[in-house]
């Protein structure tokens, strides 16, 4: 197995003074892997995704991304890591007053690309998700499925090393769902690590070789230990004997 892109070591998360919503998460995700995150509603999937795309810090434990410990990383360091992650939010989170083109172009512009480097890839990406003729449309004028495709295009436009998608096929028809899955697997073949939170068993079945991360009541279900000790992965520092 290649090195770990995500490593959680006894990670816990609570909001305010409430009970822990994630408890003792212990797992490693290999670079270039394809993972499905499943579990019943309220199991903590969204909270785990928030940790992964650095919208939350764990309240305990160690968490590393791209080989760097980030649980206590300075706030100023986080944007650099966020640029290496593409996120498809379940509620899309498109900027309502920007066109589809500008929404998709946003990661490239934030990363400092010139306008000359933005136009071509964005047009290409919009064409790929079937929205070439909707480039000037604003999100409120797009259907749910179209908004989801814009959100996916925005997540992958900057070729991130890690793509995190929360129910990416929830609002699209079967053909588009297939197409989105094809995009994600194609990116995965090029080396991108993909984590998809989904309830869609068909999607999981259509992706041979993908691994499952199952959460129940904030706890990782890992009966075989394959997530905690991926085959071929070196032992963690905390597991090494002196």
């Amino acid at each position: 197995m290649a090195g770990s892109i995500v490593e959680f070591d006894r990670v816990g998360l609570r909001y305010g003074t409430g009970a822990e919503v994630l408890r003792d998460l212990d797992f490693r995700l290999g670079e270039g892997g394809f993972y499905f995150l499943t579990g019943p509603s309220g199991a903590g999937k969204t909270s785990l995704l928030k940790l992964l795309y650095l919208a939350q810090r764990p309240t305990r434990g160690r968490m590393s991304l791209f080989g760097d410990e980030l649980a206590d990383a300075p706030r100023d360091a986080l944007p650099g890591y966020r640029r290496r992650i593409g996120v498809v939010f379940q509620d899309f989170r498109l900027i309502r007053h920007l066109s589809a083109f500008d929404n998709v172009a946003l990661p490239l512009r934030i990363a400092g690309h010139d306008e000359a480097e933005v136009e071509g890839p964005v047009r290409e990406m919009l064409a790929w998700v079937g929205l070439a003729d909707r480039a000037s449309a604003r999100p409120p004028t797009l259907s749910g499925g179209e908004q989801q495709r814009v959100a996916i295009a925005r997540a992958v436009i900057a070729r991130p090393e890690l793509v995190i998608a929360d129910e990416p096929t929830g609002n699209v028809d079967a053909a588009m769902a297939q197409r989105i899955l094809h995009l994600l697997t194609a990116m995965n073949r090029l080396g991108t690590t993909v984590i998809v939170a989904t309830h869609d068993l068909g999607l999981i079945a259509a992706t041979p070789g993908a691994q499952l991360i199952r959460l129940e009541n904030g706890i990782l279900v890992d009966p075989t230990g394959a997530l905690r000790h991926p085959p071929g992965a070196p032992p963690r520092p905390s597991e090494r004997r002196p």
Partner: protein, 288 residues
């Protein structure tokens, strides 16, 4: 100046409120008041210095029991080194002055008049030596500095000048507080855009710059509008102020003062920009 030159894409991220928003109007009103009060302060300061310069070396000799002793006092003063000018105020002038105060009775010939002699000293002259000389020549004569007589007026002018500049400072502080509220309001209005930008990897600098540019432009436009209106009103007032000019010997507001007033909108825009920057970064640091 970089903040004023941003891409169209950045401009689209935070749509401009232009003159429709409250910030330019607020800044225009604040700048208008600030320029008017500052102009009043400068005019008071100028008047005080003109009055002070006018009386700095001017003295009076007062002889209470009539003008018979005046020639001796004039002669004594003239003999003293450092005395530039000695001139007795004509008794007719004194009577005319008294007539204004007392009516026709003031002009009666049997009303005893004091003698008053104006004395100008050269800069650096020893006024006590002149006083001694006059006292020796005419016992009982009083040698008085005009600056002592006018001290309460000069103190009042100085106090009013300080008050005006204090008010300018207070208005600047109120403007700064309003800008802080406006900056926080702008962040709240665009909260979802900021969350998306942060999630995609935007730094605080990138986010803040979008708002700072907007506030800087609004503040500059509002400041210039307020200053222009204030300038027109001041020009109208001072244009007909030949009386003040003749009274003080100089226009109440000179070109240097006008330049200071003209720079105020730029100072206001700079202040707004710095305050907004600080408020925005503080607010952004409260988020992850």
């Amino acid at each position: 100046m970089k903040m004023f030159f941003v891409s169209d894409a950045d401009r689209r991220l935070i749509p401009s409120s232009g003159f429709r928003g409250p910030v330019p109007l607020l800044i225009a009103i604040m700048t208008f008041v600030m320029v008017v009060v500052a102009a009043a302060g400068l005019a008071l300061a100028n008047t005080a210095s003109v009055v002070k310069a006018g009386v700095e070396n001017r003295y009076s000799i007062q002889i209470a029991d009539g003008s018979a002793k005046a020639p001796a006092a004039v002669a004594a003063a003239r003999e003293t080194p450092g005395v530039a000018r000695v001139e007795q105020v004509p008794p007719e002038d004194l009577r005319r002055t008294l007539e204004r105060w007392l009516g026709p009775a003031g002009a009666e010939a049997d009303l005893p008049l004091p003698a008053i002699i104006d004395v100008d000293l050269a800069p650096g002259a020893d006024d006590r030596a002149v006083a001694r000389k006059v006292e020796q020549a005419v016992p009982g004569a009083r040698f008085m500095a005009h600056r002592t007589t006018l001290a309460p007026l000069l103190d009042a002018l100085k106090g009013l000048t300080l008050l005006a500049f204090g008010l300018v400072l207070l208005i600047a502080m109120a403007s700064a507080a309003a800008i802080v509220l406006a900056a926080r309001g702008a962040l709240d209005t665009h909260r979802s855009t900021i969350e998306v930008m942060h999630g995609i990897g935007a730094t605080d600098d990138q986010v803040a710059m979008l708002f700072i540019r907007q506030i800087a432009i609004d503040a500059l436009l509002g400041g210039i509008a307020g200053a222009v209106v204030a300038g027109l009103i001041l020009a109208a007032i001072l244009g007909g102020a030949s009386f003040a000019t003749s009274l003080a010997g100089a226009p109440p507001i000179g070109w240097g003062d006008a330049a200071i007033l003209a720079l105020m909108p730029i100072a206001v825009a700079l202040l707004a920009t710095l305050v907004a920057r600080s408020a925005l970064f503080r607010a952004l640091r409260e988020r992850l």
